[in-house]
Symmetry: C2
Subunit: 569 residues, 2 copies
Amino acid sequence: MMVYETENDIIVIDTGFMLPNADMPGVDLILPDIHYLVERKEKVRGILLTHGHEDHIGALFYVLRQLDVPVYGTQLTLAIASGRLREYNVLGKAQLNTVAPGDTVELGDFSAEFIHVTHSIPDTVSIALRTPVGVIVHTGDFKFDMTPVDGKMSDIQTLARLGSEGVHLLISDSTNAERSGQTPSERSIYGTIDNIFQKADQKLLLCTFSSSLHRIQQFINLANIHRRLVAVTGRSLINNVRIASELGYLNLNPDYLIDARDASTFKSHEVMILCTGSQGEPRSAMSLMALDNHPFLKVEHGDTVVMSARIIPGNEKAIGNVVNHLLRRGAKIYHERNANVHVSGHGASEDLKLMLNLLQPKFFMPVHGEYQNLMRHAELAESVGIPSENIKVAEDGELIRLTPETCKIFGREGRSGRVLVDGKPDIELEDIVLRDRIQLSEEGILVPIIVLHSDIKADTSGTDNGGSSENMPTGIGAVDEIIQTDLPPKTGLNAGQIEIISRGFVYMDKSEELIEEAKEITRRVVENLSDEQKHETQVVQDEIRSALRRFFSKQMQRTPLIFPVVMRV
Amino acid sequence: MMVYETENDIIVIDTGFMLPNADMPGVDLILPDIHYLVERKEKVRGILLTHGHEDHIGALFYVLRQLDVPVYGTQLTLAIASGRLREYNVLGKAQLNTVAPGDTVELGDFSAEFIHVTHSIPDTVSIALRTPVGVIVHTGDFKFDMTPVDGKMSDIQTLARLGSEGVHLLISDSTNAERSGQTPSERSIYGTIDNIFQKADQKLLLCTFSSSLHRIQQFINLANIHRRLVAVTGRSLINNVRIASELGYLNLNPDYLIDARDASTFKSHEVMILCTGSQGEPRSAMSLMALDNHPFLKVEHGDTVVMSARIIPGNEKAIGNVVNHLLRRGAKIYHERNANVHVSGHGASEDLKLMLNLLQPKFFMPVHGEYQNLMRHAELAESVGIPSENIKVAEDGELIRLTPETCKIFGREGRSGRVLVDGKPDIELEDIVLRDRIQLSEEGILVPIIVLHSDIKADTSGTDNGGSSENMPTGIGAVDEIIQTDLPPKTGLNAGQIEIISRGFVYMDKSEELIEEAKEITRRVVENLSDEQKHETQVVQDEIRSALRRFFSKQMQRTPLIFPVVMRV
């Protein structure tokens, strides 16, 4: 998400979400922190979308719940975005405005022109913003595909014209800045896939992202040529194929489409199954098939599986596991590392230089990528002649001031960055909860619970044991008794029932002895406290905790998180 | 770890450990399950080691604790292995026997010949086992480096002689089976590193595995040429450099060695720092420097960092984070993806085919790799003429029977596979504890605690509320009272104090209201139970759990793990 602001107006480009890494257990979604916008909500004139990928539109439902502003995007982008808006009940109030490449929208101090560019999803645009200080071009995701599957080239003419007229600031996609050369055309994989179709004599499973519609178009074309019926499985894939077909972005003869539930009733060499799960997601069709857990699809000996997608860093292990399981079932597997079955939708070094040279901007900011990609993109900009002092590498939350003469990072917005979501997206998951989760998972938890009750028949000589008689509030105690008659006298506190709950530390069914010993230690700790100490819950807890820590670290050389609870009766 | 067994004798080749993945929170080490060996301990004649990498020797301390058997390995391998044996107090009783390439050791029915091969650590051997059914060659890790740094080629002559005499079964390293061509020589990176030395005008930090002694030798040679002093940091690296220098496997002039603590007292262009942390390990020198947390080393603007190691799948994110932080500090970074600074120690397809062709085995088993690597290695074997029915792809725990005529997988050892260790290596971490940890980390935990006490002044009309009077054991209750005189009457149980402990679910300091409401729900649940139900702890727990689940899933759309505790007084 990028925010552009003048004295009077704010516009927003893209509102995406991120998926969590393995080091964020139980986090479902990462959304942008939009406090900055909510605090200035009366200035926000609109949200502009560049294309229909979740990392650009996925947070729209969340933003529109808090900001009632118009949204502008191309037909396919808005159609895909509508799905999630409906799911979260914000579609009704959303003001969605369809734009086409070439259109211009006026939003307060800004005028936004939409320019078609090629990417892995159709109907992608870059945005040229006319602002009081000059023209800003925000590329969004792009590559220069010279032979796009849908025949629609990036609008190089418009980009060149903007360059001639003068671009003040270019903000460009850095995803593949570290790759040399030019990203090959989407069509470049066609031959390999065609060959795989020719060799496949049983079921053919093609796995890609549900939004890779150019890829899906090529698969469907090849299925027609090789006389295979097409079965689509996976909710997002079915939705996107339906939307794209209805809007004419996908050319699919419905006669060749079969229900995936019926796939097994056809001969295996007559079927192509289109599915998701290229990242080894545990609940995806592909993972379920790999473990033979899919309700109605099966991978059998001799079947062919094509994982036609990028291996996203961090997912290698999960993908490797799926591949191993598919191989154990006797399938033949093609993936980006052993065959030319995937090509990126993001431009590599030469594409990025071409964009820089078309636009010849005065200032440049690389965005969209890890810091190392941004740095590399900055080097590329320098190599085509942008002075290094005119290149600004900024990170999430940083504030940049653009004037007719300067472009400077001048600060950082405190409330920015990410909002972690587990479950309901209105309820943020605090960072502290995430830290707790990680600690729980590394150490386990143990909750010793002790009932402390005042024994009416208590032997008062017991108070001597703790050596605390000198600290006893004797006289005051008597006054207490008079004032608070229904409280038990503050003496003779004894440890009653003791329970221990533990998870993620030891297997309790097999560690009865250890737990019994821990209970006994807890009891002894309490019994050895003076009555005064027993009245201080914090003291009781601390003493129990440290005694159990000593015990476990001696017995197990590790300790769980320990949270003692004192119940008083 | 591989076990070879005849009717009378068992020998073991290698005993390695694995490091845990991100999906194994709190696991420190993964050891081989050696129940099979312990049950047959009187048959075990010895352990043979191929080389000094942890995935081949790291479990020796654990195995020797349970088996009192001789160990055979080359000088460097045993020297490195001794470190951990000392650490775990098993060095004293360990029977370590140094062998040299060319030596043969007789162990019952087996005769083992050690054959030098090249790998990323010196003193690596393959092992030719003469057995009653024929010769088995176990390659261990290897590549065919034609220009090794230490000048010691793989012993192709001996391998060829074995091939001529007849090899019954080859068991070969599959790590790089999916890579085409031949793995380049260790020397192939020299030019690139030389160039980096030439360009570096400030501090130079070289990061590699502590066991990559050929790599370290090249770094040291270049430091001498470019007149940089060498500072080594990291315990394992310091140990290995010391051992290898003492034994003559590393040629290091001690005059050029400085203490890393003094590095900052020299001019930055006069220093080379050798460190670990190529995998982004959080407590490694490199990670600490990246975050400016290292006690005495600092990465500064203009410094050069070389990550001269493989990016192990699963570590991409962690490594990427370290790289990003180093870049933010203004360092120049070289790694395997942007420069030729690393080469593998494992043979690629053509090396593997050469091994197959040198030995011309009757039977073949690919080992050491993911299932996809084993499958690819099997294809390579077929491509050089091994009949597919003579190729066996087995996995951990499978039992293979080799006769003069056949090689068959005939079963699986039940107690085999991995032992997860957290803390003390004698205490295994049960799989169920690991599952608990993962669940804890994804959902968090909530422990509601309730005190149930029999109120002597209880209003008996309360039993009508639950509508349970018809279920009351009236007559029997009376008998109970007579028999168990010191038990409170089984009526009038009331909910006393209620506490809720929660971690990893909500941030308790900010969710007081939610927790108070949960307490109130817990109280109401208990109050609405009949007295009979209240006597059944399981019933009380189930009712509390399901009421809180309903509450949280409505309020938060997610629920923690809930473990209610009933304390009776």
